[in-house]
């Protein structure tokens, strides 16, 4: 992950300096993925009736801004709308001269100014026409962003086409003080570099030392014979291993296994510290004592990993399998052999003399290297069994996988959630509705808005618009019927009231966006887009709601 751009004698390149801050977050590998990605933004799907030009698309443009600045490869804006006066009041990427011109063209032009490295293009046709006319259109993109509300038929056609092609979709809506967005990922979406909290990734193997580590412990066998300076500088890892040996001698070869034994063991370690010094103790012993409870847990395969190992993709890789699954099956083989995962090999900082620390570090590093070599051997064997593949899996990828093995993740992507009878969605909605201050009501209100817009756009008689009372009440009843359709849900009055209240906020603003809410939402959406594109960190699964009135957000798996 820390793979760097080729460095030259003159120091960092201007590109590295420009992207310095973000490279610290996703490294050169993430940057490369970003630069190789083209993103499609569907920023509106035509007017809503006679009185509204439709989605103002601020949230879409703000999301793109956050992808253009860090250097996404390119983008295309699909937007049939023409710039109006209210657009100028809410969209930063439009100016006086834009009035009356194509909004796709104007926002594209101003966004491109942000970063000369990024390609931008636009389409003034509707998305449905584009995907129907040109089957080559959609496959060009690594990610699809949609600014809603848009009519069901367009959303459904786009989402199912994207699903066929394994292209992730982010569907966003921002109205008044509320916003929501959902992420549709492919059925299996594996992530290697999940960037877990460094605290949780420590793997010292104190209960399963390998010969070189045991050998290092024997060098401090005679702790009592060390002078004060040496005694205060024995790395705590070696202290723990030393006292574990002592413990095992008096406990029939067993290690401390429960809380009581561990606290006893901790006391045993503590009592070994020399206190006849001005500090009244030794820092390395303090570190050892502090590490007892968290470092002496026997290894067990994380359940998420067990699940991955049991997936068909992992058990029987095919010539068409992604590299991830071939490496995963090799790591599984490693696990079956050793009942352990490959050692990550990193060591925390600790009190020690530098030479001792470095030699301990080398013991961990070389063990990690040997584990990677073994996994690589399995990978190569699987590759040769599968027959010719376009390219061999790079060594670097196997190494990164081994380092992150305990924290890899596979997300089972779901469709953009809608009120269309999908059982898991209904169940999850029901569960969340029973929580009194859940923001799920805001999500339902947005589903109702989608329904109203669909109604206007498809059946739209002239004059019908967003303040049409009848259209809203029809959609509200439809939504409530839908939620209660499987018979397991009974909506009490309070629940209904909360849904109506949330809906009222969307009605009151007639679908209009507030810049600050859309801008913030654009930041959140771009964040998820970056995770999806770089395949680093764990993305949203699958819906987020933001409530600007109470400054709250909530995530749902719908």
């Amino acid at each position: 992950m820390t793979e760097a751009f080729p460095s030259t004698l003159v120091g960092p390149s201007s590109k590295e300096r420009k992207y310095d801050r973000q490279l610290r977050l996703w490294a050169a590998s993430g940057q490369k993925a970003l630069e190789e990605s083209r993103v499609l933004l569907v920023n509106s799907d035509g007017p809503w009736g006679d009185q509204s030009t439709g989605v103002s698309g601020v949230v879409g443009v703000e999301t793109l801004k956050n992808l253009v600045l860090p250097g996404v490869g390119g983008f295309t804006i699909v937007d049939p709308a023409v710039v109006t006066e209210p657009d100028l009041g809410v969209n930063f990427f439009l100016e006086e001269e834009s009035l009356g011109k194509s909004r796709a063209e104007e926002t594209c032009r101003l966004l491109r100014e942000l970063n000369p490295d990024v390609e931008g293009s636009f389409q003034t046709q509707s998305i449905l026409e584009l995907i129907q006319q040109d089957p080559e259109f959609l496959p060009r993109y690594k990610l699809v962003l949609v600014s809603g509300p848009i009519k069901h038929s367009s959303l459904d056609a786009l989402c199912s086409a994207a699903r066929e092609l394994n292209i992730p979709v982010l569907y966003t809506r921002s109205v008044g003080f509320y916003s929501t967005f959902s992420l549709q990922l492919p059925a299996t979406f594996p992530i290697v570099e999940t960037h877990p909290d460094p605290e949780t990734t420590q793997d010292l193997r104190l209960l399963n030392p390998w010969p070189e580590l045991t050998e290092a412990t024997t060098r401090v066998e005679n702790l009592e014979g060390l002078d004060d300076h040496q005694h205060g500088h024995v790395p705590y890892i070696l202290l723990l291993l030393h006292y574990l040996d002592q413990w095992k001698e008096s406990h029939g070869g067993n290690v401390p296994s429960n809380y009581k034994e561990k606290t006893e063991f901790r006391e045993m370690v503590r009592s070994g510290a020399r206190t006849s010094n001005p500090e009244g103790g030794e820092e390395n012993y303090d570190e050892a004592v502090a590490a007892v409870l968290k470092s002496l847990n026997p290894f067990s395969l994380p359940s998420s990993l067990r699940e991955i190992f049991e997936m068909e993709e992992c058990k029987t890789p095919t010539p068409k399998s992604a590299d991830f699954w071939i490496i995963a099956s090799a790591v599984n083989e490693f696990y079956q052999q050793h009942k352990m995962l490959p050692l990550p090999g990193s060591l925390p900082d600790m009190k020690a003399q530098s030479a001792d620390y470095i030699s301990l570090q080398n013991i961990y590093k070389s063990k990690a290297r040997r584990d990677v070599e073994e996994v690589t051997k399995y990978v190569r064997r699987v590759e040769s069994q599968l027959g010719p593949r376009p390219i061999d899996i790079p060594d670097k990828d196997i190494e990164v996988f081994c380092k992150n093995a305990a924290h890899i993740n596979v997300i089972h992507g779901r469709n953009i959630p809608q009120l269309n009878g999908d059982a898991p969605t209904l169940k999850s909605l029901g569960n969340n509705l029973s929580i009194p201050d859940s923001l799920v009501t805001v999500f339902i209100a947005f589903q109702i808005l989608d329904g109203v817009v669909t109604d206007i756009q498809t059946r739209g008689q002239s004059g019908q618009s967003l303040d049409d009372e009848a259209a809203w009440s029809t959609q509200i009843s439809r939504a409530i019927d839908e939620i209660t359709s499987d018979g397991s849900q009974v909506l009490d009055d309070d629940c209904r009231e909360r849904i109506l209240e949330a809906t009222q906020e969307l009605r009151r603003t007639e679908g209009g966006e507030l810049h600050n809410i859309s801008s913030l939402t654009g930041g959140l959406v771009a964040q998820e887009a970056l995770k999806v594109i770089t395949r680093q960190y764990v993305p949203l699964n699958n819906t987020c709601v933001f409530d600007g009135v109470h400054s709250r957000s909530e995530m749902f798996k719908l």
Partner: protein
Amino acid sequence: MPRDSYLKRSLGTLSRRIRESRVLLVGAGGIGCELLKDLLLSGFGEIHIIDLDTIDLSNLNRQFLFRFEHIKKPKALVAKEVAHKFQPSAKLEAYHANIKDSQFNVVWFSQFDVVFNALDNLDARRHVNKMCLAAEVPLVESGTTGFNGQVQVIKKGETECYDCNPKETPKSFPVCTIRSTPSQPIHCIVWAKSYLFPELFGTSEDNAAELDHSEDSDNSDEIANLYKEAQALKEIRRSMGSPEFAKKVFQKVFKEDIDRLRGMEDMWKSREAPKSLDFQKLQEESASVESTISCNDQKVWSLDEDFVVFKDSLDRLSKRLKTLQDTAKDGVNSILVFDKDDVDTLDFVTASANLRATIFAIEPRSKFDTKRKSPSIHE
């Protein structure tokens, strides 16, 4: 439909109050650019922007009001100029200045309805916090790092203030703070431990985790100068063991480097300029001081005592390194590493840090204090 239709629908009559308000935005960086845009498009009528920085290449990936052609120009002025085009009806004022300057007093602060902090350092945040409490102006405080961010509303008498909770001191420091503009005892300790000590007895400073070498337009020239200084110190290292060694090191780091820094007038407009030390004078004044003073680790040593301990510990360390080198096998590069339990290294770091503290009018620290502030770092 008029331009502010969406605002009026959401905010109703409140949109007028927003239009009639005057707000202050402190900082035009990552958060500042975004916030300025959001304030403009939320209809705020009068916005004052202040920032003392100029634009650097490494800002362009997020500070979207700035382009390549703006590099080295003042952030506040460019932000105003660029953003104004998108909302010509708003009134904007920009200051290329330090918010801590005395012209921005309590009376000045009290003209604002809200103050927004979009800063990158603890010191300025604390200052604005105090000013807003004194002027009774609500403050919206914000910050980000990596993928995390936070916002806090501070209103006198109603919420806690920025300093109600102690803040963790940062673990790493910008290289220029350590090498050119220290303002706290810890900056001097880190200088002695992570720069001076390794340059004389170890490998280079480049690997020290406590030094952040990020460049921006303000510091790129200074970083080049600092590099030259470090090279010159490496030259002096060659004369280790000679009777002139202590004087050479002293003259270099406590006299010549300081005089060069003092010459950079821009740096000392809002800070006190450093005053270099005179080897000869200290030599004479400290004639009666015994080097055993280094055993007193609770006392804050006087300048003369620091001087004596500096020379004495430098001598002890030089001899140790010499012995190591003489006994080392061929091809092994012998070095000494700072360890707070190693008395020679701790003496050296304490004395050097205190000499530097004197130069920058910073309070010196006892050996005991210095030890407490020095974690063992192996990175």
